[in-house]
Symmetry: C2
Subunit: 421 residues, 2 copies
Amino acid sequence: MKHVVVIGGGLAGQNLVSHLAKDKNFSITLVDRNNYCFFPPLLYQVATGFLEPSNMAYPFRKMFRKHPNIAIRVAELVEVVPDKNTVVLSNGDLKYDELVIAAGVSTNYFGMKNIQDNALPMKTLSDALRLRNHMIGQVELASVELSDRERAKYLTIVIAGNGPTGVELAGTLANLQHDILYRDHPELKESTARPQIILVDGNDRVLSAMSRKTSIYGNRTMSKMGIEIRFGLFVKDYADGKVLFSNGEVIETKTLIWAAGIGGQRFAGLPADVFGPGGRIKVDPVNQVIGLNNIYAIGDACLQTHEAAFPKGHPQMAQVAIQQGQNLARNLRRKGDPKPFAYFNKGSMAIIGRNKAVVDAPYGLHLQGFIAWLTWWGIHLIFLMRPRNRITTFYNWVVAWFTKDQSLRMIVRPSRGKEQP
Amino acid sequence: MKHVVVIGGGLAGQNLVSHLAKDKNFSITLVDRNNYCFFPPLLYQVATGFLEPSNMAYPFRKMFRKHPNIAIRVAELVEVVPDKNTVVLSNGDLKYDELVIAAGVSTNYFGMKNIQDNALPMKTLSDALRLRNHMIGQVELASVELSDRERAKYLTIVIAGNGPTGVELAGTLANLQHDILYRDHPELKESTARPQIILVDGNDRVLSAMSRKTSIYGNRTMSKMGIEIRFGLFVKDYADGKVLFSNGEVIETKTLIWAAGIGGQRFAGLPADVFGPGGRIKVDPVNQVIGLNNIYAIGDACLQTHEAAFPKGHPQMAQVAIQQGQNLARNLRRKGDPKPFAYFNKGSMAIIGRNKAVVDAPYGLHLQGFIAWLTWWGIHLIFLMRPRNRITTFYNWVVAWFTKDQSLRMIVRPSRGKEQP
């Protein structure tokens, strides 16, 4: 029996594990720093209070309970020791026959310490909860602030990054400012301070990874929603409540959301030359890490360049991760030669606001507006892992749609004790 | 127009505010340290992962949105200045015509510093979330621990306090250990370390505030469920993973849940002699604080001794708080003489485990077992504040009942940043 150790239970890792588990010749240990998986495309809905974490997350142990050949280990990877076929984890060592790194990416601040310290990232479920608590807190502060100038800082939100995360957050927050803010806080109506959302990116259009047509629609729709779109600019610094743009402009705000950079995680023990641009781990067409025999990397963490359409590697998105996980599982089970990975593009999409979305489907098909919005919800509902998640999420969505509201605007934190790290 | 400031939005404060708000002669400011209210009897279900916070909590601003004469202020009370009819809050001052203190109680450690530092309280929603995260974490630690002796410490839970909180936690945790533990953690089956729940109290029976008959049934049922009940004992110390009992006995455990003491909060500015036993604020029959003209106290925070059946004050429970809130609202609105508070006992109840509960109803009626369990669920479902809470809670309960399981065993914390306190 072969022991496969999988580092990371994101979409790549989950798909690998569940396909591999059907084969009784494998025992699998899934290592993750959390005891749950979550569905990243719905993170912005947790951050904006439309969903609870449990609507889009699921415990690993329950997910894989029916497979006695899967073990779950809550730990962080400290070091890989390829010579000994061993990984050093934060709570012990593990021997492997095959090692799969599916550790995803983390937020990249490009070395800007102030931004790392003061901005709000949007990569993990914990980030989303922190963002939710932060933003509700800012509005509470605005409501007791007497100076209109100070108040404006609490109501201004700067979002760096024009990918789906930045766009979906900006759109949903704009809807909330429009539908909810003055209903919950009538006292703010008397102030001259107005809520404001500024989306900033070095690129020249929103959703620049999608089609031109889609981007143009996105730009126009977001401007109509009152979102200020600032392009060709970077955020250079953020301290003392002041965001500094690359053109020297300064915006005063208590909220900078950082959705502008991701980077790979470097693990000790792997040779330095396996790390390519963006910190991604270079792999061959069957996702084997270059120069290493029984170590693989899949998903956002890896860089694979054999496909002609993707000379700089695949886009770091859900579909690639899922398909690489499945392909590697098939290869590990296969007796003959492994099959190179071939990405099948099922399209991409993003929500822009209430009743508005964009879809780039295969074969050059574009959808926008309400029909794209329905498509988005349908597909995301199908992808939610478990019937339970689907039912409660659907219920939350229906309530939110009809009432233009949700009930999750509560600042709830676990209380702190000494024993917590 | 009279301005009423209400400190605390628990059951007493909420009921006062919603009754008073119907009268346009009042403007009301509700001050609470949280921006939401929650339903304390369901706290143990959040701690044990059967409910999400949003199933039993609700944002104040949304709750009172339809009443333009209610303002919400998220703040803590720092000081009362009776001479100036002013309260000093953590974020500013407020003038009042009438002040109502409905601040409830907080956990009392009776001066035992080690217990305060190391035990887990069970009073707030934040406490419940911390407890949930802690307990899931302990089982994860047990599953990577190699020594059986060490492992036992992670699987042993000591609960101090035999009131409803202690009993309901013990019962639910015993069910989880029985139904879930080995399903989620098959690796623990091979260990000789066994999960253990120890309920300790100075009293001689569980639920000692309820009827004798009920207590005896409770004792017997809990023993059958494998819960070790230790009476006539106090917890004296808890440090380095060792709980010390008053008889000198030591239990090694990583989890001491403290449900053994509550105490009133002392606010600066109130004369020292208004504070009675347990730190409760002494009030007259119409809930006016003794010696103070326009200051009232209601709910757990107050001590009212005019009723012959309660010479030492009413029990600190939900029904008293609700009724005092309603009575005070009526008195404030009434033109003539205020009506003294008269407690109508609607009974009390507690869950002991799956399908088992106890109810002491009025007129000496007792229910126990399944019928009491159904009564408990029905009444608690009715009391949940909003239809939305009811639907999602009911759904969670039905799923949990049929599957003997729930999906909320995830350790989710907001990530931390500099800006968080």
